[in-house]
């Protein structure tokens, strides 16, 4: 079920919310948790019930392994088994075709592809459970009931696309007694951040999606301005889509008195690539740091090893997003950028903030092209266009500039391939201002005090967003 759908906003969420608290009010605490788990499974299987047994199976097996790790002495063997089990599951559904394609290409074989549908949220619940097993092995996990574990993994606000929650921050919250009762403050704040997220998704991200899709998937050739419009549109689409989703997840969870970790902190304000990763998809960065980078050795064994570990971590981060070389390349680009940044820091040269921001933002913008493109050809099409290799078309009003006119510049309708939408420029400028000059939703949430202005703001966002739900577009991170 999509957060940005009528069925979720007008039926599922209010019904689940009401029944959950009603059961708690009747002192049916366990019943309420069972209900929440069932509601989450219903939410999960709304699209495709086919993969429901898979998630249930995965949760049962992981819980049992963690239980045995706590109980038996063969802890390491159990951990290895558990991690392999999770990786095989993820690998089979997500990477088998990618693997077969590459085998066919490398050895000129003709293994037929499996064309499996990717089970929703598999990347998220796999990572979440691997973390749980590793922490069980480390002895950080207290004994918990199966029901509590089940709700931790399947709790619907974070199930489909994160944030990738940690058992330490989630499981205790489900056990706190006061969380079982209505909390008007949390409901108010939940609605506040949910409405911001819904607005980000339906109004901003879905508008940019039209131009990004046009440039990446429909047009076969992009001139300079079209290529920049395409890449920037995707840069903003991705941010507003994913941070919008996260805001909605945070808001929906808050209604149930559960605080999810924040996932974004104005990443496009970053003036270097390290800052960017400290503010973008925070829970994934945290997972990669704690469960990949540090186990690889982190920064303990000298600089060369540390750079190596960083690069491997980013490659895995790229691969986690999708089974394609473009994702791996995207991860490699970021890994290299982080290493270069560390080397740069050693020189002691400090760049001007504006220049540093400009370089960082453009690097991110260009690297997203490989993240978005369906294949290398599409990525190169956009890159070539951005650097003027596919022609430069100037807007007609510039033909009065003698320098351009005398140098055989071509003038014309710059946005004709984008349905003449000159408003694109306004949207891009507006989005950039929103990213750079305003508080982000988490900062707004902290400073939020209820008053008439605030409720008008929330109602406005909710109504405008609801009126645009008919697009019913998927969230980008549903695919990962």
């Amino acid at each position: 079920m999509l957060f940005n759908s009528y069925e979720f906003i007008l039926a599922f969420l209010p019904l689940t919310f009401s029944l959950y608290f009603y059961l708690n009010r009747l002192k049916l605490i366990q019943g309420a948790q069972v209900f929440l788990a069932l509601a989450s499974l219903f939410f999960y299987s709304w699209w495709n019930i086919e993969y429901l047994p898979l998630i249930v199976f995965s949760v049962i097996i992981n819980y049992q392994i963690s239980h045995l790790i706590n109980k038996l002495s063969i802890k390491k063997a159990l951990l290895v088994f558990g991690v392999i089990f999770n990786l095989l599951l993820l690998g089979y559904f997500k990477y088998s075709d990618f693997f077969l394609q590459n085998i066919n290409l490398a050895y000129d074989t003709k293994y037929s592809l499996l064309y499996l549908t990717l089970p929703l949220a598999i990347s998220f619940f796999t990572f979440q459970q691997i973390a749980f097993l590793v922490d069980s092995f480390r002895g950080y996990v207290k004994r918990t009931s199966f029901l509590n574990y089940f709700v931790f993994v399947t709790f619907f606000p974070q199930l489909i696309a994160g944030p990738i929650v940690h058992h330490k921050e989630m499981m205790p919250q489900f056990l706190i007694k006061k969380n079982k009762f209505f909390n008007f403050k949390n409901i108010y704040l939940g609605l506040f951040i949910f409405s911001i997220g819904l607005f980000k998704k339906t109004i901003i991200a879905d508008t940019f999606a039209i131009w990004a899709t046009n440039g990446f998937d429909i047009l076969s050739h992009l001139n300079l301005i079209e290529a920049w419009v395409t890449s920037l549109s995707y840069t903003f689409q991705l941010y507003f889509d994913f941070s919008g989703y996260t805001d909605m997840a945070l808001g929906a969870a808050l209604l149930f008195n559960i605080k999810l970790p924040k996932n974004f902190n104005s990443p496009y304000k970053s003036t270097n690539i390290r800052d960017f990763w400290k503010n973008w998809h925070l829970t994934l960065s945290r997972f990669l740091r704690d469960y990949i980078y540090i186990p690889l050795g982190g920064n303990k064994n000298g600089n060369v090893k540390m750079y190596n570990n960083l690069f491997i971590t980013f490659l895995i981060g790229g691969l986690w997003h999708g089974a394609a070389w473009t994702f791996i390349f995207w991860g490699a680009l970021h890994g290299l950028a982080i290493i270069l940044f560390r080397l740069w820091c050693k020189t002691g040269i400090v760049l001007n903030n504006v220049l540093a921001w400009f370089i960082t933002f453009n690097f991110i913008n260009i690297s997203w092209i490989f993240f978005r493109a369906e294949n290398w050809e599409d990525a190169l099409k956009v890159i070539k266009g951005m650097f003027g290799f596919s022609g430069v078309l100037f807007p007609s009003f510039l033909n009065k500039i003698p320098f351009l006119a005398n140098n055989n510049a071509i003038f014309g309708e710059v946005f004709s391939n984008f349905n003449g939408d000159t408003e694109i420029l306004l949207w891009l400028f507006g989005a950039l201002c929103l990213c750079l000059c305003f508080k982000n939703s988490n900062q707004l949430l902290i400073s939020q005090k209820p008053n008439n202005k605030a409720i008008i703001f929330i109602v406005f966002l909710l109504l405008i967003s609801l009126m645009n739900l008919d697009k019913n577009a998927d969230f980008i991170y549903f695919n990962f």
Binding site: P450, N451, L463
Partner: protein, 343 residues
């Protein structure tokens, strides 16, 4: 905590009151004429290409559904309702291909309703189907048609803006059929050269409607034909006569199209009306606008009067022919030779 409770109450009340108000306003004004076409602006009834509006119309109560390309924008569904007494919706798509039109006709038939289908020459050009923009549009309409949005029908930003515009226009006393009146009064002036170049009949222009004219397969046309029963109508709308000479002269468009017409007529139970060739409508320059590409709305009205009237003597002119399996061949030979004579 009390302050949060207080403002939360206010928030929810304000939200639901506004939601209900907007929903009721849109439902009562109904600018796109989902429920009633009377008293609606012609621009909203016929001129927009919006998948969500098409979907809402197909899922609204109706008898006839007007399917076609921009020529259908010159048809006022209200006029057809007056002639037939049957609820009529316009679901045309500007520049529609046979694929899109067949998809819409299928959707109409799934719901046990009837179509009036413009079987146009340029919609039959399969070559247009290769462009990504058109492929993309087909899939957008297909996706849209797969959803029956009950709540969103009268609660979306587009219908709310249209409702407000409708109310403002009413306050300003704007004529309901302003756009059609303007087109009727527009000066008809265009040259044969312009027509040849811009239409693409010379295959000289990428993405022009008639460039590399290749008609869709018989299988596809046959599938369309089989959708129709005796209450459905196919219409071959008129173009300015010199076009027919161009079709006869270049790329063998005429014969390719006639072959499609043969497949249609021989395989359908629906009525097929043709206004093709040299006749009272097509030979009058003043009946056309946009390089002779579109007939004026007043002509559209006459075409439907001719189709729906039971007493043809009352009409001041007659130019359409109801094609049947028995008169088809002689009709095609006759109009072809007439066009040949005027080339």
């Amino acid at each position: 905590m009390i302050i949060y409770k207080h403002y939360l109450k206010r928030l929810l009340i304000l939200f639901f009151v506004l939601l209900v108000c907007i929903l009721c306003m849109n439902y009562l004004v109904d600018p796109y004429g989902y429920n009633v076409r009377n008293g609606k602006f012609i621009k909203n009834l016929t001129m927009f290409n919006k998948p969500h509006v098409t979907n809402a119309r197909v899922n609204s109560k109706g008898y006839y559904y007007l399917i076609g390309s921009s020529r259908m924008a010159r048809i006022n569904p209200l006029e057809i309702e007056k002639m037939t007494g049957m609820k009529t919706h316009n679901i045309k798509i500007d520049g529609a291909t046979l694929i899109e039109n067949t998809m819409l006709a299928t959707e109409v038939k799934i719901r046990d309703k009837y179509f009036i289908y413009s079987f146009d020459v340029f919609s039959s050009n399969q070559n247009r189907q290769q462009y990504e923009e058109i492929k993309n549009r087909v899939s957008i309409y297909k996706n849209e048609m797969s959803n029956n949005k009950i709540f969103g029908k009268f609660f979306n930003s587009d219908i709310t803006i249209r409702t407000l515009q409708h109310l403002i226009k009413k306050l300003k006393n704007e004529k309901l059929d302003k756009q059609h009146l303007e087109e009727n009064d527009r000066l008809s002036s265009f040259s044969l050269d312009q027509m040849s170049i811009e239409s693409g009949v010379l295959s000289n222009r990428e993405k022009a409607n008639f460039s590399n004219f290749t008609v869709y397969s018989d299988e596809l046309i046959n599938k369309l034909a089989k959708l129709g029963n005796k209450n459905d109508i196919f219409i071959i709308f008129p173009k300015y006569a010199p076009y027919y000479a161009l079709f006869s002269k270049h790329q063998d468009i005429e014969q390719k199209y006639f072959s499609a017409v043969r497949t249609l007529v021989n395989n359908t139970e629906a009525q097929v009306w043709s206004f093709y060739g040299n006749n009272v409508i097509t030979q009058n320059l003043n009946n056309f606008i946009d390089n002779g590409w579109h007939f004026k709305p007043k002509v559209g009205k006459k075409i439907f009067e001719e189709i729906f009237t039971t007493n043809h003597k009352k009409l001041d002119f007659s130019s359409g022919v109801l094609l049947t399996k028995s008169n088809l061949e002689s009709y095609l030979i006759d109009i072809s030779s007439e066009i040949e004579d005027t080339r």
